[in-house]
Symmetry: none
Subunit: 430 residues, 2 copies
């Protein structure tokens, strides 16, 4: 039994090697795939780094990674050229000699022969293996992966191209990692909230968190805020989905209780999906009249597959004439209250509802900016109304941010007003 067997890895650090990954247009995406596979077998990623093809920085990063994680995965830098330094740096840091692996050379040679090519001598570098390492064959390329156990630490080297890396790592998980982990995996739940600020949500949720982090099966929590939306991520390590649910289920319920009705989703659905599902359950259809959001509300609703079942139409009435022509908003009403007013939003919502013969009509009018604001109605002022056969509701908002942010927040608020009202229906409308 090696040290590694006694201490199955709980944390991983991923190092992506390649100078091109430090330019503005390239990004390491392998770590997302690796993280998904690692989490499935209960290994958390505690850090990631990207370094260029440069020996000294890579060595320092590897030392840093080995200090902080049980398992270090290095991707890239296994090619045949002088630029490719991963093998040498890892061997050097772990104090292992690099030796040519006969079987690996033969596999390389066979790969070239199969393509009627002679193996360039330079490719022999790809068969260099730190003493004691296991070669992980690469079915899709010339650079094999490597598996090294160094005391209680484990180091895995993988080639950079995703189509080469992925099958090698799938095999590593199935044959080497999964059998040695304790069967724990990471389970996640996500709550999505709108209509509250990050601090409001945190103030309500914080007292709950502290209970969970100290329990037998501690729950890790993260709060993530963007304009118009807050996400709460909960995760636990557990052996089975039942065990995870026993811990996460009550936690999600407790959060929903303190935050409802601001929580719109506990299952990863987007707000437009939630609204769509509510409409579908009620066999109701919707039509949207937008000014400042410029079609964004309708575009989001129709991002959902099958939305043609309940989205009847949308109109973007940017000009006052369009508001009158397409929605029947009286010119006098616009003159009296201004185009950005709750009165006009209500007339827009009612107008589209009646003309489209739908259950739910939505009207949005506002000032997205950066120009067009006044002292009374600054940039970010948005009036939103929802009209149903039972009547209408309207509200005036003041959003901050740039044009796209105001547009997004307004679309979020409009969808949320529809959601909240539909939820109040005692029983779905037949």
């Amino acid at each position: 039994m090696t040290g590694f067997d006694r201490h199955p890895p709980a944390s991983a650090y991923i190092v992506a090697v390649g100078s091109e990954l430090l330019t503005p247009s390239r990004q390491d995406t392998n770590s997302l795939f690796l993280t998904a596979r690692l989490n499935e077998i209960g290994i958390e990623v505690c850090g990631k780094a990207v370094v260029g093809d440069e020996r000294e920085t890579l060595a320092a990063t590897l030392r840093h990674a080995l200090e902080h994680a049980d398992l270090v995965i290095l991707t890239g830098g296994l090619g045949p050229t002088e630029d490719d330094v991963t093998r040498e740096v890892v061997a050097g840091e772990l104090g292992l000699a690099l030796e040519e692996d006969g079987a690996a050379v033969e596999r390389l040679r066979a790969r070239f022969t199969a393509r009627r090519m002679t193996m360039p001598e330079i490719n022999r570098r790809q068969a260099l293996v730190p003493r004691g390492a296991t070669v992980l064959p690469n079915p899709n390329g010339t650079a094999p992966g490597l598996w090294l156990e160094a005391g209680e630490r484990l180091v895995i080297l993988l080639p950079g191209p995703p189509l080469e890396l992925q099958p090698i790592f799938e095999a590593v998980v199935a044959e080497r990692l999964r059998p040695r982990t304790r069967g724990l995996r990471v389970w996640r739940r996500e709550l999505r909230v709108t209509g509250r600020t990050e601090s409001q949500v945190d103030e309500l949720a914080q007292p709950l968190y502290s209970r969970w982090t100290s329990g037998a099966c501690p729950i890790a929590t993260t709060i993530l805020a963007t304009f118009g939306q807050i996400e709460l991520h909960l995760s636990v390590r557990a052996a089975t989905s039942d065990e995870a649910a026993a811990s996460l289920g009550p936690a999600v319920s407790a959060l929903v209780e303190v935050l409802a009705p601001a929580v719109y989703s506990v299952d990863g659905r987007s707000l437009e999906q939630v609204v769509g599902d509510l409409l579908r359950e009620r066999r109701a259809s919707i039509a949207v009249a937008e000014s400042c959001t410029g079609g964004l509300v309708t575009s989001r609703l129709t991002d959902v597959p099958g939305s043609s079942d309940y989205v009847e139409r949308g109109v973007v009435t940017y000009s006052n004439r369009a508001k009158t022509d397409l929605l029947g908003v009286p010119e006098a009403l616009i003159a009296e209250h201004g185009a950005v007013s709750e009165a006009v939003a209500v007339a827009m919502a009612a107008g589209i509802r009646q003309r489209a013969c739908v259950e739910v009509g939505v009207g949005v009018t506002g000032i997205a900016g950066p120009t067009g604001g006044t002292a009374d109605k600054p940039v970010g002022t948005v009036a939103i109304a929802v009209s149903r056969s039972a009547g209408h509701r309207s509200r005036r908002f003041l959003f901050v941010g740039r044009r796209e942010q105001v547009k997004f927040q307004a679309s979020q608020a409009a969808l949320d007003m529809v959601r909240r009202w539909l939820l109040e229906d005692v029983s779905p409308v037949a």
Copy 2:
């Protein structure tokens, strides 16, 4: 003169803070933006790391970063909650006391007051500043950035949301970094192309690249393809903008020559901006009738500030009845050709143009998927028409990809058809 002034930074290390960035579904994208801006002023990124909201690992990563780069940028972890540890860890590592900044508290309070809210006490944390640091105001959020000079090292803290981070960093570059750097900078030009595949563009551009990479002032090229759009990035290192232009200018012209008219922008403008500028120059207005794109074309057009000058209206006619009601598309035409057909797209474009009294009408109808396809009209089939007083043009496309990808490609193709036709006008219409 501080140490920093004597040694302008040549290398940067970027640390993204946030446990959500270590999950399989989130990625740090701020570093790409930061890298582009840093390269422009001659600073290379020598490494990047992602760490969770965890004090000890962040402290170790910061120490590692400070050892390897002149400039360390930390993004995220500046929120008001207990989770947000960046401020404290940086102050701790640099041995600086954290003090509340009166002006920052006032700015925060004013921000809440402007929204007619009371500042929660918890937000005071966002006004804590390591002694000697400069506060970088955040126009789009509550977390200000921070600028710290520590001997010859420079540390910058920025909030995580891209729309907050970007304006702060633009100001940092313009006011603080650029004046202190010297020597060579990286200069970039970007061509945006639509209506061609990556291999088509590459085949045409490749013969040109090889000439440039071997010259005295070699041009680095990158091709970046997403659905419906290809970007060509060219960069050179040069001391002055004249020197860079002498090299990049002819290269851009040569590429435009072989790729035109598929190149829609050589100055970073989006396709909706380009179309908007063409409309404005011609004093023409536009109205859009959309089916499968569900409002996306109109939403993109209205993302451009000032677009209310030329966007008259949009309609999203998801149902056949809406097509007839709002656009006057004859029911018989839909029955004969089907709702997804060039004939219906033309009727939609002409219908909206006449009803809105505008110069340009656009009609888009198609099958975004994942269901609704037939053998004759598979998922991804989209008919697009543009109608002007001089007549109409229409085309049928077959896009691949998922629902949102089909929607985006269709919106791209519709805007591009408008662009190409407007470009043909001999002189702007008065």
